[in-house]
């Protein structure tokens, strides 16, 4: 052999030997060298990678697929079994597997085994649940309380107005009499000029439109009024069986703080030109002459009038607070709307003029 193989160069010969590229002469010489130096022999498995193909778990393979399986085999059986337990098989797969299960009882056992792997929820309670909750803190400002009280008062006012209105409605147009009040205790009309006006309920809603109209009328029963204030005021809040008790009457001015040193005007009730359409309120002659103690009435130039003077004045007296309510319908010349005043609290709304 031309080339001498020794321990300093044997590796290159070894690689060529393993790859089979040595000549016959070299191969014989290298084998003789390995036989003389057995400690230099290496395990061939460590040199060459095992190229035997790895088989993927069939379950993983079927999980990667994005199409329905059309046949159940031993290879994809676990996929179907777990899928059935998990209830994630498609309708076709479910049908296919049910058919397979009917024919293969051993597969039913596999499904039962997988059902056993489902954890049964057990009760584990968190020990300090109440500590996790955020406590409710009631923070109510005085402003809120004041506004709520004012809103409640307004609501009460409107409810009373509605109650009064409904009573008038029940009575109809025949016997309800609006009586002038000149501020005297005796409210009985003194002459024919002071005939009471008949109240006619309108179709409008309270606060938006005028709800009553004033018409000159002589009550059918001939009873034109009362001499006693108590008799007139009390029934308004009760059942108004007696139509005459519906008459809104101004209480005594002396008892009303608002009335002091102020001219008094009577209650102004709107009227309608016909019996259906409510129009802007107008004053009959008797009413025009009477003074008023309502705040809004004294502003002048407005058609805003108090349709419930009895209630507002009574409330004023009882609460020792200014209580006023004015309402008026828009006319061609003047705006309509409503105005509520309770103490220092005022609410008003103006509607545009009629065109």
């Amino acid at each position: 052999m031309k080339k001498l193989i020794h321990t300093d160069n044997y590796e290159s010969f070894y690689l060529d030997y393993l790859e089979g590229t040595l000549s016959e002469e070299e191969r014989i010489a290298f084998e003789e060298f390995l036989a003389a130096n057995p400690e230099l022999q290496i395990d061939e498995e460590l040199v060459f990678l095992d190229d035997t193909p790895e088989k993927m778990d069939p379950l993983q393979k079927y999980l990667l697929k994005k199409e329905d399986l059309s046949i159940v085999t031993g290879e994809n059986l676990e996929y179907f079994a777990i899928g059935k337990v998990e209830n994630v098989l498609t309708a076709n797969e479910e049908k296919l597997f049910d058919g397979y299960l009917a024919k293969h009882p051993e597969a039913q056992k596999l499904v039962a085994d997988y059902r056993e792997t489902r954890l049964q929820p057990s009760a584990v309670l968190y020990p300090n649940k109440e500590d996790l909750k955020e406590k409710e803190v009631a923070l109510v400002s005085w402003k809120f309380i004041a506004r709520s009280a004012a809103a409640a008062a307004i609501l009460l006012l409107f409810l009373k107005l509605g109650f009064n209105n409904s009573n008038h409605t029940k009575e109809g147009t025949s016997n309800t009499v609006a009586q002038n009040n000149s501020g005297k205790k005796n409210t009985q009309p003194k002459s024919e000029d002071k005939k009471p006006a008949k109240l006619v309920p309108s179709v409008g809603s309270i606060g938006e439109d005028d709800t009553y109209v004033a018409q000159k009328s002589t009550p059918k029963n001939g009873n034109s009024g009362h001499s006693n204030l108590k008799e007139r005021t009390a029934p308004v809040q009760k059942e108004n069986k007696n139509p005459e008790q519906l008459i809104p009457v101004q209480p005594e001015l002396e008892k009303t703080p608002l009335a002091e040193n102020k001219p008094h005007h009577p209650t102004i009730l709107p009227q309608v030109k016909d019996d259906k359409q409510p129009v802007a309120p107008t004053l009959n002659n008797d009413v025009n002459k009477a003074p008023s103690k309502d705040l809004a009435s004294n502003t002048g130039g407005s058609n805003m009038k108090n349709p419930i003077p009895l209630i507002t004045n009574t409330l004023s007296e009882k609460t020792k607070t200014t209580v006023d309510f004015q309402t008026g319908k828009a006319t061609e010349t003047q705006k309509g709307g409503f105005f509520v005043k309770i103490g220092k609290f005022e609410v008003s709304h103006k509607s545009s003029k009629k065109k």
Binding site: I82, E116, T117, L119, S122, L125, Y126, N128, K129, L132
Partner: protein, 161 residues
């Protein structure tokens, strides 16, 4: 989510959340901390959370909180107070369930998480994917693998006839 809805969420989900964490960590003290921290985080953002998604939000937060805590625990000390095995409520499980719980504890973390969410809370794959920030296919793979492992474990203990 209002204060009232938040408190309702505490009432409805605190126990479930606690169970999810305690089954995962096997540590009650740690689990209580995780639940407490989870609700604290949710309350911080309660105004921007839709009440109808409160449960999902809670579990998502708890899961991430738990993962963070477990990482810290592994870095620092071994599980102190790993006391769930002495818990009476857990010792009353049926044999199969008890063995199954052991098997669950041997599952890789992510498989354990998806199985607990699936079996205890009844979440679907999509919901679990949202909570764990996985995709639906990954969730499916993890659940299927976990089922296979659990079945084999039960088989090996011959509890499954």
């Amino acid at each position: 989510m209002t204060r009232k809805e938040y408190n309702e969420a505490v009432e409805l989900y605190a126990d479930n959340l606690y169970r999810f964490v305690v089954k995962h960590t096997q540590n009650r003290m740690l689990s209580e901390d995780v639940v407490q921290e989870t609700f604290a985080k949710v309350w911080e953002k309660h105004e921007s959370i839709d009440a109808s998604k409160a449960k999902s939000y809670l579990f998502t937060t708890a899961y991430h909180q738990m993962v963070d805590v477990l990482k810290k625990e592994k870095r620092t000390t071994s599980f102190e107070g790993q006391d769930v095995k002495q818990d009476d409520t857990l010792s009353h499980l049926f044999d199969v369930q008890k063995t199954l719980q052991e098997a669950v504890n041997k599952l890789p973390e992510i498989q354990k998480t998806v199985i607990l969410l699936r079996d205890y809370e009844g979440y679907n794959y999509n919901e679990i994917a949202e909570i764990t920030a996985l995709n639906e296919s990954q969730v499916k793979v993890y659940i299927f693998r976990a089922r296979q492992t659990l079945k084999n474990y039960l088989k090996s203990t011959e509890l499954v006839a």
